[in-house]
Amino acid sequence: MKLLDQFLIVERVGAQAPLVHRLAIGIASRIAADMGAKVIKILPPGGDPLAHTPVIPHESPETALALSAVIDASKTVVTLDDNDSHCAAELQDLLRQANGLITDEHRMDTPIGNPRVDVAVKVLPSDALLAKNAPSELTVLALSGMLDLIGNPENSPLALGGHQVAYASGYTAFTALMGGLASLRNRQLAVDVLDVMMWINWKGGATSAFRPGSNITREGSRAEWQVVACADGHIALVHSEKDWKPLAELIGHPDLMEPDMFTLLGREKKRDQYLPIIRAWAKHRTRDEIYRSAQAKGVPIGPVFAPSELLNDAQFKARDVIAQFEYQGKTINLPRLPIRWDGAAFNPVAPRYVTTIKEALL
């Protein structure tokens, strides 16, 4: 599918950009590239820091290819020294042809290149405490309130795994780019990574706004939804009010059918009594047994899958979620975009590296 093949998008990130901005910008333009836009990523001299960023530091250096393959897929990458007057002129010429620019240039009122560029999406540094030094994903999570929401109250606040700030901001920058392209005028839009994470954690602010003095924080073993160990791993014990009856029937223990177990407050008071019952029930069952039997009753329990398990997941195989391409001598497996277009999937391809803009435009 080449939905966006009428668009030329330029990705340009400064050499000193923090990793979170570099990733967010890369993810936004990756999505556009998979959808068929011609995306040209401009690299400053010295190479791409992503090429040396492992997925699991110190543990698995051979995975270092994964991040750059995932971020640069479907793009054309060109290294350009815009301190060189010839290169700078080439870049200006490229921007004159481009429909969109995704960048980390900070000032909204300073368009890069020519004003004919239709859309500039700028991933911004966050304000407040993050303004002084480059933000990290952990500090953004901290200021958004999200860090405090995850984990156990007896332990430290806990970050979501991976690069969630970058992905959420990249998704947002992609949407901002599309919104800009759908306008009939030149646009300047901005995505602040702290805004995005605060938007995601809107319930954190909303709770205290509507109930002064009230708060939500990490609940650990006191939480309504838990991760429970089972025979071959873990399941996420997730349910709404209407799910309790079928869940209790599935487990078949009379204590779960007590009237006070059917309300949030009742369950909160009896967490220490009923969770051991569920844990004992899950202990001798596999993830698949629990998943299938719960879903058959409409209860939204799910198995905890390691990312690598998704490579062989039956649902993912049926939908052909995982794509492959050859990259630097290795086979890269990566998820396709999470969207099917009249049933068709988008197909990421290996990044193309060139040395001039002229080649990039071919």
Partner: protein, 387 residues
């Protein structure tokens, strides 16, 4: 670019059948661009967010969570289960650009509103279907909330304290439900642009579990390159890219998120009195420094640590609790928690445009704009068979 879209996004009409978070928030982001969003419910099928149990149940007519997610929409009451309601809906489809829905799979077909039916009425219509697992595959009818998707999409397995169990984002948060709207909106806009260019609409099948999996793409790729890596997936607050990083509690009880860029590491080690051997920073050295960091931070008040560490180039921030966000004075608060004309907080826009976000419609009461919308689109103020 000029001429690609027949109309600007401000002229698009969106029929919003979305409920709770994923669908309703997607339509809300379309409204942020100026799209004309019409939220369609009926007396027997209301958005459950209108009355939501737990901390957000204030006993008011509209719960705060509904107000947050449905600002800048108009409300239309229409029973899609009735013949007359279904026929009226199809008339509205003829005058619209987008339908957003997050029903359980199969519901739209049972209502007689499959994409085939909709596209006969309007060949350019874009139907955005947001669901747990997508519109195909053996698990297509499976139910989920955001935390189910944390687990099945690969995120929980990489979230947790080292050596401890996986963690879900939980009922108060439901991270992946929030995430969906941020990317789905862009896909919908791409779809409408394409429809206006080609004259042909499309069915967008958007799977929230796949949105989660896409957000851990590099872990899936890494797992294929080296399956052994999965044994050490949960790394607490360690930096994914290998910098010294920790969340430490100061002497006043406040938790501080700390990330140390390579160029600040020597200065930090001098500050916390930790000997840094001039060798490669391996895992054991990392553990040593992070341990020393925790010990140092717990002996000093948070304000001093923040000031001292920021001065040596360390990225540092307090882990704010929910009730500390609004009074924090950060610019992001004004943008994400603006007030509507009645003085209530609502949810702002996740991106900034040339003009500041504003609320031109409070979240609608059920069917609040039924007459107005029908008159505007169909030229009559009542729901009736179009004879």
């Amino acid at each position: 670019m000029t001429g690609i879209a027949r109309e600007a996004i401000e002229d698009w009409r969106v029929l919003d059948l979305g409920i709770i978070t994923a669908g309703a928030a997607t339509s809300a982001v379309l409204a942020d661009f100026g799209a004309n969003v019409i939220k369609i419910e009926s007396n027997s099928y209301q958005d459950p967010f209108r009355r939501w149990a737990g901390k957000w149940d204030l006993g008011t007519a509209l719960s705060p969570v509904f107000q947050f997610t449905n600002r800048n929409k108009r409300g239309l009451e229409l029973d899609l289960k009735s013949d007359v309601g279904r026929e009226c809906f199809l008339e509205l489809v003829a005058h619209s650009d987008v339908i957003v829905e997050n029903f359980r799979r199969g519901v739209l077909d049972r209502l007689g509103l499959s994409f085939e039916v909709l596209s006969k009425v309007n060949p350019q219509i874009v139907l955005a279907s947001m669901s747990s697992q997508g519109d195909s595959g053996p698990d297509r009818k499976y139910a989920s909330y955001g935390s189910t998707l944390d687990a099945t999409g690969g995120l929980s397995a990489i979230t947790g304290y080292p050596g401890d169990a996986p963690v879900v984002s939980g009922r108060n948060f439901n991270y992946t439900d929030q995430l969906a709207a941020l990317v789905a909106t862009g896909a919908i806009i791409a779809g409408v642009m394409h429809a206006k260019k080609t004259g042909k609409g499309a069915h967008l099948d958007i799977a929230q579990r796949e949105i989660t999996a896409f957000a851990v793409s590099e872990y899936i790729s890494a797992g294929a390159l080296n399956p052994v890596a999965t044994t050490t997936l949960r790394r607490g607050n360690r930096d994914a890219a290998g910098l010294v990083q920790a969340c430490c509690q100061a002497s006043d009880g406040k938790w501080l998120a700390i990330t140390v860029p390579e160029e600040s590491l020597l200065a930090l080690c001098a500050q916390i009195d930790c000997e840094l051997a001039h060798t490669r920073l391996d895992a054991s050295k990392m553990t040593l420094i992070e341990g020393a960091l925790s010990l140092y931070v717990c002996k000093h008040p948070s304000e001093k640590i923040v000031g001292d560490f920021a001065n040596i180039g360390v990225s540092i921030a307090p882990a704010l609790r929910g009730n500390e966000i609004l009074p924090s004075g950060m610019g992001a608060v004004d943008r994400i928690f603006p007030k509507s004309s009645n003085g209530d907080y609502v949810k702002g826009s996740p991106f900034q445009q040339e003009t500041a976000f504003s609320v031109h419609h409070e979240a609608p009461a059920l069917g609040e704009h039924t007459e107005e919308v029908l008159q505007e689109l169909l030229g009559r103020p009542i729901i009736q068979k179009n004879t």
